[in-house]
Symmetry: C3
Subunit: 470 residues, 3 copies
């Protein structure tokens, strides 16, 4: 039996001087409450507060970071029990699936998923042997036993994880029933929604019209004009805000921003309703809606998030069989300097706006985003995101952003996860990597220890709280 | 009172073996004379040799690196006394402005501006307490006292900084009165001009025509044909050369090069004179003028510099109120392989040409610029520039350029500054970072100490002197 | 006389903890057999097994990495004896050329060519003094003496280098006479061909038609239709496979993939035969042929390699005088996410396909290639290639690829060289850099020593053997 250990110096630089300082800075922030302002945990988990069913259902099946790697090495998604949308039968035996996971866990060596899972096994589930083909079923049983106990109910874990606020991500038409249920339950955990308008903005998508119908149903009036459509979004924002939301979040292929005049916007919208919107219409409409969302943010104070640059559902074979979010969203090169210009020229200096921008294109950190955030008062940079939410990824982010934008134009850490029990692991990685980054600055005498301590707390807790108005 | 200290090992790797070698290499070059072949110091400062008025006027107001960061965190430029061009009243109380600067100096933690200012405070002005809201006015008074003394007159500082040559940057129509005044004063400091033709090349810019009129006035003849225009530029180059210039410097949005035939060039030029030049005309004209500038360099021996890839005056609100160079020039992705091809195919192997290329797009270091400079005899790479003139920026530059282009296809350091008293700080950072880079190579046994010492002197002094023919 | 030494810790991190582990991992793999699945050694060398003529002919003249650097610093290629294709006389005195090489060897400080040559001098030729202008001719004589001895015959070196398999690269119409000769000689060294179809795919190239004629001659039937053309390629693949090939290798400007229907493909092909193919035709034809090559790989099991993104023969003056591969191929930005989509959607999940993709655009490592390889089962990433086959280049590759794609979606090392005696040096660098990368992960506690040892062997030997089916 190979022993699982978490070295207390993990993710710190091996140089003893840096390591010592990194450890010292980390000690100061490691137990601070977790603020999770951007993620994809299903609020039903906390509304229902039912036991998690089993390890496979909890850990593997919802985590596309995990199953993409197995798929890339020839493991069929069917054999991992990923639910199909086309009726293809998939493996139902969760112990069998877990065994496959264990057999292939060596693939995650050196990856953030490997780091998170080992942390989760050790710290959350008290596992003390390494996960592999030999130990898989023993570990399955150990986790299953924990999941059956009241300490492992979702709300108990929420408290145990020391989460101060958790934001979910919710469609614009979502009635937020689960959030209501949480509120009405009297439980004091703070879970807030975040409005994501993508589905009602993608005017050329095949499901846009049904999404507009859903929106009509939610707001209770017909949406036959652009004016009405905008009114509906404003109403939804009002409702989300009343339910605790402090932000919106918009995924776009390109961050192109451009203002249409009223007549143009109406014309494009009408073509959309008739199913006649061209690709150009779609791009212009999204560009205009980014302007509109910024305007609304100025008016209602919701923080605006944009995350562009992902080619969604790249593998149509997987998409058709298993649906969206199955590990085949692939980044593309993204341009910000020209694309964000209209928005930043109109709202970038407005003190009522906080605009948080993410990227999957690291080449824009030093070239575009840090210079923009180091100038426009409204702009803040989201943390190293998605594929870059990792040891090297976060390190590169800080190295490429800090010298031009400083620390205070960034917004701390987002876990962006749908894997609820991985939240502490993810924040721990971030706190370690930032401590290490600061320690390298201290030992290179770019900053002193007093400054590092201040920056350390800002990165782990204060910046995110302030930026997201939480 | 928090003590300001400059650690003697700053910017060196914390690993003791690397640090020791870095220090040894640095010791060897730290006192070498400064060659500053590319910068924006106003020659009037050295022509007049009048005392600098006060700390705010000297240090904050001209430095867009500094006020952009304050602006990005919500400090209005008006409150910093940045002169407006539209008549907006701005703060005149320089002590009050300095206080704001002190209150926000924590924003610069880990930024090059922070490093430079601390160096400048400590080494140039003898300040021994940290700059912050508490100490701001005490430090103001200390600096003011120094500025009133003869040791702090510009020419005295020039000598004290051990500057061997300082190049300014001057418009093509500039009569170089200040340079004449310096020459005629009998002072032995070497200050040379550098011809920047941007204003007379941007054929589609609203102020192009007035700039041509200015050029006509300077050369004393009418410029009504492309031939005349070229003759005027050649005349100006001759004059600049006679005044000590060894180089030209051209800022372009894209480094596209393309040769027009005589008739085409004339036609575009005529459309420009009539205010009818299209955007395409503008791009072609710039592309052709890069070819012309290269041809002239081959003929008169002036070193040619190109620095592309900045979207100038991105924030039109700031631009309209405060004018150019107010911190809202933002880099864009830049292509060199295809764009420079025409120029390099015609002149790239001509021993009479030295072409120095800069970039704000670090992705081109290893992909395009190092391979190009590692082949074409005429091409040299300018140092890590602007936003990349920093600890991490310079380190990335060396890491991405050296393996393909070697050290000898680069040209040492440029401070590129308008902040005269920051010159020693900037060169010190460069000498430290290069020493550290070489020390890492020594301790990884890629080079030995003897080679490192040779390269170290080349990087700090010899390469720049040779490349700029100084 | 300056002593040449190879430090046993070279290319390892200076931090003693990392260095110790790196050394331990390296010791374990340094003597493993060399698998060289992708390179440009002329098979005639091993077929004839004649003594190498002299140091200049062996080491300098065929190595464009070496002479490009000399050329970039003003040394004419004529003076280096590079054979001209236009009749220009070139230096014939190989001792004189070698002297020039020695005089300029300082230019290679910190470059991979410098590292490889010092390794080759020391380990292969037993040289114990540094190569420079003083020692050049002494070293020439020492190497010449070795070359005259039987231990330095090509086949003896092949065995001495511990090469398990060496793949050459061969045109599609090549009759593989040299490979036959090797096979028939009874020598037991394994040398296999690799089919490179570029010349017969570049339908708009001036020499495409002659290349088709060559192909006709080789296959023995007329190629007047696209169907026949495809049949010819299939026949050549069959023959290459019978001769030991396990892979094909295709260089393209862009990795754009797109399937034409039969009639479209035929029409483009016919325009090609008539010399009327447009640039668009050329791009579409290449895009379609990538699809066809993938289909054939699925059918015959040959591993498919694509390496895009090089602007060939950028310097037309050099190209016209000296021909291809003379150091003026320059990388360009390359897009994979959109371009590879058609191919990956059709074949990316087919277990019969192994597609290995290379890049010269490092920005695609983390943004596009690692996410794609971390998803599609058929896709593997080729190692850090060409200009990036270096200490920093390989380190960046591992840092940017591993967290998303893991280690097992990469394929070990390729030397890609035409410089036969540099093969051990190149593999040694790779084994050192990978050992060091793993050691950094061990000392940061991302993986433990047991995992590192497993990964280390995978990187040095197992992955390449498996990926290339060798």
């Amino acid at each position: 039996m190979a022993k699982l250990e978490l070295n207390e110096y993990r993710l710190f630089d091996p140089e003893p001087g840096v390591r010592k300082i990194a450890r010292e800075l980390y000690e100061q922030v490691k137990d601070l409450p977790i603020i999770s302002p951007h993620g994809h945990v299903d609020p039903m988990i906390l509304a229902d507060n039912k036991p998690f069913p089993d390890p496979t259902e909890l850990i593997l099946i919802p985590d596309h970071y995990a199953h993409r790697m197995l798929y890339s090495q020839g493991v069929p998604l069917e054999s991992l029990g990923i639910p199909s949308v086309d009726g293809t039968p998939v493996e139902k035996d969760h112990r069998k699936i877990w065994q496959i996971f264990g057999d292939h866990f060596y693939l995650f060596a050196g990856t953030p998923t490997g780091v998170w899972l080992n942390h989760e096994f050790y710290e959350v589930f008290g596992i003390r042997e390494k996960f592999n083909g030999q130990s898989a079923l023993r570990i399955y049983d150990q986790i299953q036993e924990k999941l059956n106990s009241p300490e492992f109910l979702p709300r108990a874990l929420f408290k145990c994880f020391n989460i101060e606020v958790l934001s979910t991500t919710d469609g614009a038409s979502d009635t937020l029933e689960q959030h209501k249920k949480i509120k009405e339950s009297g439980w004091d955990g703070r879970v807030v929604p975040c409005l994501r308008p993508d589905a009602i903005v993608s005017i050329t998508a095949p499901n846009w019209k049904p999404e507009i119908n859903k929106l009509e149903k939610t707001v209770g009036y017909e949406i036959s004009s652009f004016k009405n459509y905008i009114r509906a979004i404003e109403d939804r924002r009002k409702f989300f805000k009343a339910m605790g939301a402090t932000s919106t979040d918009q995924g776009v292929y390109s961050p192109y921003t451009h203002e249409l005049n009223e007549a143009e916007a109406e014309a494009v919208f009408q073509r959309g309703l008739k199913g006649q919107a061209s690709e150009d219409d779609g791009n212009l409409f999204t560009a205009h809606m980014l302007m509109e969302m910024a305007r609304m943010s100025v008016e209602d104070g919701l923080v605006m998030q944009i995350h562009p640059g992902s080619f969604r559902n790249h593998n149509q074979v997987v998409f058709k069989r298993f649906g969206a979010d199955k590990g085949c969203d692939i980044p593309v090169a993204t341009e910000y300097t020209n694309n964000l210009r209209a928005l930043l020229n109109k709202y970038g200096y407005n003190p009522a706006l906080t605009l948080i921008v993410f990227t999957l294109d690291e080449t824009t950190y030093a070239r575009e985003l840090a210079p923009l955030a180091g100038h426009y008062p409204a702009l803040r940079l989201g943390p190293a995101w998605w594929f870059h939410d990792s040891y090297q990824g976060m390190t590169r982010y800080r190295q490429m952003v800090t010298e031009t934008a400083g620390i205070y134009n960034t917004v701390g850490f987002n876990d962006d996860t749908r894997a609820f029990p991985s939240i502490p692991a993810r924040h721990d990685v971030s706190r370690r990597v930032d401590s290490n980054f600061l320690a390298r600055m201290v030992t290179s005498h770019l900053i002193d220890m007093e400054e590092a301590q201040k920056l350390s707390k800002a990165l782990a807790y204060e910046l995110v709280k302030k930026a997201y108005k939480l």
